[in-house]
């Protein structure tokens, strides 16, 4: 059986006045039904662009995005609508993704209106969805500005769930939320997965959140996947020097653990994707880089413990 989502050597390039940006540069990944795949990386690494490419919100320049074995590139009209039913997205800024002049009820109902549902069925479904995400029933007559950030994110989640999608691409869904509300939304996403069997591609820069929610994790750097594997494997035995640097940089909310661990702070910052380094994209910051890394680009290959990593020296 085909995986729910398969990315095959996906490239996304943007032509700008300053040159071509290779935002996504040859990514291959699979996500099985019922799985939560975490996609982590720092700003500008291409993780959001990759998420958008999965919904055809940005064009794929080369390679293929397959949903249940079907390449989405040629889809148009009705077939594209069918794809959108299967794959939905929630965004970091729920306020920016809701129409401020539309009531919550109308926003949540929109996907069903587009899909041609009958008004009675829509009304019933909206009530169910609002209950699932923990909003009061009178929310449907109110407007987005009347809600807090956490509640708005719940509205976005309700709308994404409207047509029972198989996959939700979550792009930094909790990054704008306060700590206590963030935990509420994470717990809600986990509950909904239990109830409906939906899968998540969970895009985040926050490693502790990804560690909590993901089954598998892919680490992205400058448009490429540098390491991917099971959550425990990545956290206990990270192989790629970037993964190690990233994990060591993440603050740990436990002062004794924080003091006890050894850390080497990664130097430098993400190079411009306009002008990526030749060879391994990470060599300019890598603590173990050798001459070879400047010219040979490493490919993902299996490493100890079942992960894959793109490094000549692991």
């Amino acid at each position: 059986m085909s995986p729910l989502l398969a990315l095959r050597d996906v490239h996304v390039r943007f032509d700008t006045a300053a040159g071509t940006v290779r935002a996504v540069n040859g990514v291959s990944l699979e996500l099985a039904a019922g799985e939560t795949l975490g996609l982590v990386g720092e700003s500008g690494c291409g993780k959001s662009t990759l998420g958008k490419a999965i919904l055809k919100l940005v064009p794929v320049s080369a390679g293929a995005v397959e949903i249940e074995g079907t390449d989405i590139a040629p889809l148009q009209g009705r077939a594209l609508g069918e794809l959108r039913r299967k794959v939905q997205m929630i965004f970091q800024d729920p306020y920016g993704s809701l129409n401020p002049r539309s009531t919550v009820g109308r926003s949540v109902a929109q996907p069903m209106v587009v899909a041609g549902w009958k008004p009675d069925a829509i009304r019933e479904r909206v009530a169910t969805l609002l209950r699932w995400v923990g909003l009061p029933d009178d929310a449907r007559q109110r407007y987005p500005h009347e809600f807090s950030g956490g509640q708005r994110q719940r509205i976005g989640i309700a709308r994404a769930l409207a047509l029972s999608p198989k996959l939700i691409v979550c792009d930094e869904p909790v990054s704008a939320l306060d700590v206590s509300v963030r935990a509420q939304v994470i717990n809600l996403l986990e509950d909904l997965k239990q109830q409906s069997g939906v899968s998540y591609l969970f895009i985040s820069h926050d490693l502790s959140v990804v560690e909590h929610i993901a089954d598998r994790v892919a680490v992205m750097y400058l448009g490429t996947i540098v390491e991917a594997g099971g959550r425990d494997q990545i956290w206990r035995r990270p192989q790629h020097p970037y993964t190690r640097g990233l994990l060591e940089a993440a603050p740990v909310a436990n002062p004794r653990l924080a003091r006890a661990r050894t850390r080497t702070v990664l130097q430098g910052e993400l190079p411009s994707p306009l002008n990526p380094p030749a060879g391994c994209p990470f060599h300019s910051r890598c603590p173990i880089a050798q001459e070879r890394c400047r010219s040979d680009r490493p490919v993902l290959r299996p490493v100890d413990g079942g992960s894959v990593a793109a490094c000549h020296f692991v």
Partner: protein
Amino acid sequence: MSVVRPVPLEVRALRTTLFTRRGEMKAVDGLSLAVGAGETVALVGESGCGKSLSALSVMRLLPDPPARIVGGQVILNGRDLVPLPEEAMLGIRGREIGMIFQDPMSALNPVATIEKQIAEVLMTHTALGRGQARARAHELLELVGMPDAKRRLDAYPHQLSGGMCQRVVIAMAIACSPSVLIADEPTTALDVTVQAQVLALLKRLQAEAGMAMIFITHDLGVVAETADRVVVMYAGRKVEEAPVDELFEAPLHPYTAGLIGATPVPGAERAARLADIPGMVPPLNALPAGCAFAPRCKRVMERCHKEQPRLTEPKPGRTVACFAAEMDAA
């Protein structure tokens, strides 16, 4: 032998109120804290809890209207800042007390070079001439670990990354060796590897200069990495204060416990669910009577809805404002 550290900054019962059309809101309601030389006190809480307004009150940088200090004292190196005229504050900000903000881009002048901006701070507060100030600007950029510092002197802020801009802001904040540094979410806008660099930098600079530091953040991970002592705020009030290890190991206030439970710890035993706190921070113009946290509290009692708990000291070095915690200690 215990060494008595000087305490460059002491805030006593500070009250700041927002005067708005919708009424008066107590944004900071009786905050007291002290920071010793070389010590880092983290001010923690969620948005709207008053932590940034507390910092702005200390710096006397409140937007007035609507915000005004209505009571309390801010003792900096033995002198109360609250009654001082603005002209006097101009000589204190940047010299005795430095501040770093969340968004370094907007803290810098977009149309002046990095060298000019740092030199200006020095020429305002010291007797250095232009040439000396420029030389010192270069030294400061090296000190804050700016890559390729000499070349960056002629750069404009938009030519630098967020992490580099934050290094420039830090260089300006420490240029005159202030005794107190206030850092308001200084790494929130930065990537995680750059955040680690900036935190390490602040730690090093503080150790070298013995500055007292107030570190404002919502991120308990950053608290655990940087703080010696922690002040937890909720709805404008201090609800708990403790040394960092004790706070994480045995939080006394249910809000503190909730925040810790809601924060995943990588590498620790994995909890099936995060402990969330129901509801959200109440708006300042609709604070409940009694304890502001009562509507969200797991340990709420009859009394909590009627009376505001005072800060008590159930154990030496620990303070908490909670009736349930008082009962535990009794």
